[in-house]
Structure formats: C-alpha cells, structure tokens
Amino acid sequence: MTSTTLPAPAAVPATASAARAFAAKRRRTLLVGLVVFAGMAALPYLVRDVYLQNVLILTVMYAALSQSWNILGGYCGQISLGHALYFGLGAYFTSVLFVTYGVVPWGGMLAGGLASAGVALLLGWPCFRLAGHYFSIATIVIAEIGLLLVHNWDFVGGAMGIQWPFNPDSWWTLQFARDKVPYFHFALGLFVAVWFVTYLIEDSRWGYWWRAVKDDAQAAESLGVEVFRSKMAAAAVSAFFTAIGGGFYAAYVSYIDPESVMSFRFSLLFALPAVLGGIGTLWGALVGAAILIPLTEISRSYLGGTGSGLDLILYGLLVMLVALARPEGVLSLFKRTRTARNQEAAP
C-alpha cells in the first residue's frame, strides 16, 4: 500500500546496495569455502593413524552424499528415503564395468551417475505426484525393489556380490592399497564438487524455484514456478552425485554385495547428516557428518563388535536427539545469533 506512494529514486539506491551486499556475501561464502577446503585437504597429513584416516574418509564421503541428498531433500523439500538405490546403481555400474569389462572407475562413475539421473527422472515422473509421507514411503519401496532385483540377478553377482581384483596403486584405477590419503582427496574432491554445484544453484533460478516448491508447492505453482520440472531437475542432480559417491565407495572397499550398498540404512545415512547440520544449507551436511560419522564409527568399533546392541541403542538415542533437540539443525545455533544481531542493527 505505502510502497506506491514512496518516491521512486529513494528505492533504487536501496536495492542497488542490497544487491551489492548480497554479491559481497556470496564472494565471502566462496572465500570461506576455499579456506575450509584447503584446511581439510591437509587433514590426512596431520592424522597418520590408519583407523582415524578411515573415519575421515567416511566422514567426507557421507558429507558429499548427504549434500547430494540435500539438493532434493533439503532445497526442494522432497524427503527421499530411497537414495540407496542411486548409491547402489553407482557402485554396481562402476564395479561391473571395471571388473567385467575393464573400464576404469572414472568411466564407470560417470556412466553410473548418468544412468542414475535417468532413473531418477523415470521414477520422478510418477512419484512426484505423491506428497509428504506418501512420497517418502514410495521411495523406500522402490529402493527395496531394486535391492531384491539385484539380489536375484546373477550377472551382477547376485547375493555373492562383486570382488574387485588387486591392482597396483594408481589414480587411473582408483586403487590405493598402501596409503589411504588419495581416497580422502577423492572424497573431498567429490564434496567440493557437490558443494560448488549447490553454491551455484542457490543463486540461480532453479535454487529459488526449489525453495519455493519446498515452502509451499501450491503457492509456488500459482506464481508461475514450474513445480514438476523443479522436482525432476533436483532429483536428477541429486541422483547423479549420489551414484558417483556409490562408485567411489565400491572402489574404496573393493567389494560390494547388494546389502552392503543398497540396504535401507544407507538411505537413512544420507539424510541424517543434512538433517543434523541443517537441511537446505551449504554447510549443514558437512557439519552433520563431522558430528555423526565419527560418533557412530567409533561407538561401533568399541561397542558393536560384541553384538550387544549397545551401539544401536546409542545410535538410536542420537538420531532421536538430533531430530527433537534442534529441528533446524546445529547450524541454526549460529544463524540465530546473526539474525538477532541484524535485527539489533536495523533501526
């Protein structure tokens, strides 16, 4: 109402300065990213213990996978609990192409990523008609069908799985028997790639569309947002990177079977770090993974070997606490103070 009576010249510099402030904030984010990633790249040289290096690799890998999940679940608001399907597709494409046809893992990952994106589009077409819990349950069921089919498909090893042959250390075949550091750098590279794609998306038309779809799909639709295409695009990007993560995991552990790459617990593990850290944020997945993965890995190695179930009790309590204590994620602890600061600064 009042804005129409405002003198136009006064509004123009205000928007221009807001745009400048926004651009500066974007540059700052990028700079922080560069510093953080450089610091992370040095980590495995400081931590020489092989067990801890394994924890670091898994942490960064789950951060990358959770950020991939975040693209669909966090930014676009479609809670998939079936991403194990894309993870498994990546792992199987990479393993079968390498072990049976001799294609280097890089090619297998790319093929698996593209295939997963295609599958995500194919499944998205019917699934995105479903909303809320209906969508989540459909994703669980579809991933379960995938698991059952792979389990009974002899060409990909059936229940026996696929063992990678032993190869000399090489970036070409992604096999490093002596030193785990290259694995860490590959996982970090993947995380940086997903992070950077998310960074670009945040300020693109897609980013705004996705967040609008998440907040209120109907309202977004009425404002001209193409809801269905938004969900499809988010699903394809998300599935692509999840499959590359699956290919990396296969190369890292050198042996896969249906349960070890496609079971439901992976779908859960991709969602949890982002939820813990803060969904729909650039850093949530990394923060969440940095808390969750070391805790679960260490509690599993200390308590899990006995089969007493104590590790599960601890993990279950942790998941409940994550969900109940801070629904907006750990990162919101910092964000709130900044908002409060801005409010104080504002007249």
């Binding site: 809670i79 609990l81 019917p126 699934c127 008609r129 479903l130 909303a131 809320g132 819990h133 209906y134 989540s136 349950i137 459909a138 669980i140 069921v141 579809i142 379960e144 069908i145 059952l148 089919l149 389990h151 009974n152 439901f264 859960l268 969602a271 949890l272 939820v275 969904i279 089969g307 007493s308 179930g309 104590l310 590790d311 599960l312 009790i313 601890l314 993990y315 279950g316 309590l317 942790l318 998941v319 409940m320 606490l321 994550v322 969900a323 109940l324 629904p327 907006e328």
Partner: protein, 292 residues
Amino acid sequence: MTTQALAQVLASGLLMGLIYALIAVGLSLIFGLMDVVNFAHGEFLMIAMYATFGLVLATQLDPVVLMPLVAALLFALGGASYLGVVRFAMRAKANQGMVQIFATFGLAILLQGVAQYLFTPDYRNVQNTWLGGRTLEVGGVFLPWPQIFGAVVSLAAFGGLHLLMSRTDFGRALEATREDQGAVALVGIDRNRVFALGWGLGAALVGLAGAVLAVFYYIHPQVGASFALIAYVTVALGGFGSVAGALVAGVIVGLVEAFTAVILPPALKSVGVYALYLAVVFVRPQGLFGRL
C-alpha cells in the same frame, strides 16, 4: 494349475493377508488420528514377538493364553512412545514432517538395540505350543493352525475395533480428534490423552499380531523391518487412516504375495506386492479408501 493348488494358494494368501491387516491397522489408526507415520511400527511388532518369547520362557504358558498380556505390554509401550518421543516431535516449529520421521526412526533403532541387548542377535523361536506345527486339512488343502488362529484373531480385532470406535466414549473422542484437533479441546477433550491412548491402542493391535506371529515365525532383532515395509504398503494401498482400507488391503497384499510366490522365485515374492502398491498409488495417490 489344478483347482486344488489354486485353492491352496488362495487359502494361504487369505490367512496371511488377514494377519498383514492386523499388523497394519495400528499404523493406519495412528496416522488417521494425528497424521504421523510411525516408522518404529515394525519394531513394535518385533518387541511383541520377543515379549511373547520371553513370557513363554518365564511362565511356561502357551502364547495363546499370554496374548492379552502381550497386547497390554504393547499398549504401555505405545503410550510411552507417544508421551516420551512423539509428543515432542509434534512441537517442532520447523521441518515437522522430517522431525517425526527421524524421531520415530531413532526409536526404531533404539528398540532394535534393546532387543539385541536383552536377547542377543540369535534367531529364536517359541517351541512346544498348542498350535505350532499343526495343520487342518480341508478337501486336500492344508491350512496351518497358527495362521488360522491369526486370521480369527485379526477378524475379531477388527470387529472389536469397529465396536470401540462406534459405541464407546473413547471411540467417539478418537473420531472427534481425528476430525478436528483444535475443536475437541473446546468441548473438554484432552488431546494429549486421546493421542496417548490412540498410540497405546495402535501398539496393542500390533501386539496381538506379534503374539500370533511368534508361534510360527523366527524372532530376531531385525524381524520388524521386513514386516514394517509390508505394513506401510498395506496402509498406503488401503488409504492412510482408513481402518476398513487396512483390512481390504491386507487381504489383497496376502493374496498377491501368495500368487507372486507361485510365478516368481520365492525370494522375489514381495516384488509383486510392491509393484501392485506402486501401480495403485500412481493412479490413485490417496489409496483405495483414503481421503486426500
């Protein structure tokens, strides 16, 4: 396929379907009441199976006799889960759907851990029961007694639930709360109490199913997961929140599973059920009897 074989598949599918309906109805009831999907539903079933196992060991009584006790225990577990976990999940101001999913998932993992801690991960079974291993032969069709008993319990439970919902004050309070959560407070119904009792009732129903299953199924900490997926599919197929839908969908699921097992390798028997579920929800997202 001979007539006899066909009758056998039909009968087995029908009996198992009624048991699936009994497993699923509690889930549907809770969803209808408060729009929450309990992702620990399968673990409630698993706990009920272990409770039967433990009580049989402790009392040397038959599972049939112990069934009411198991249902009562599960009622307490359901009520406690609402009061201790779900109540807080519903208070979340942000990402409420996600908070509910992960709070109940956390509960599921916790319950698996507790079962593994108390009973080890070994496979268990309840031995020397009245019904176990006995079959009824009707014109060349063999029906195992535990499944017949389960089907009867299921039908009785659905009948009882219908009476409870339509004839008692509690049932009316339940129905009123699912219609309008805000308005019931104005007429003096304590919403939290109704929710807690609803969770208790839903868990007690899956408790009956657990006591039935314990007679003829292996018991281990992960046993809930496989039944849980069938339960979600049943509830989604019948329509979330619809009690009658759970009954019809349960029977359909049982029959489809039985026929899939004839056509495909037994390991893939669930694929038919999942495919049917997907086909239905893609055409009719609200399920057969659901409201959107």
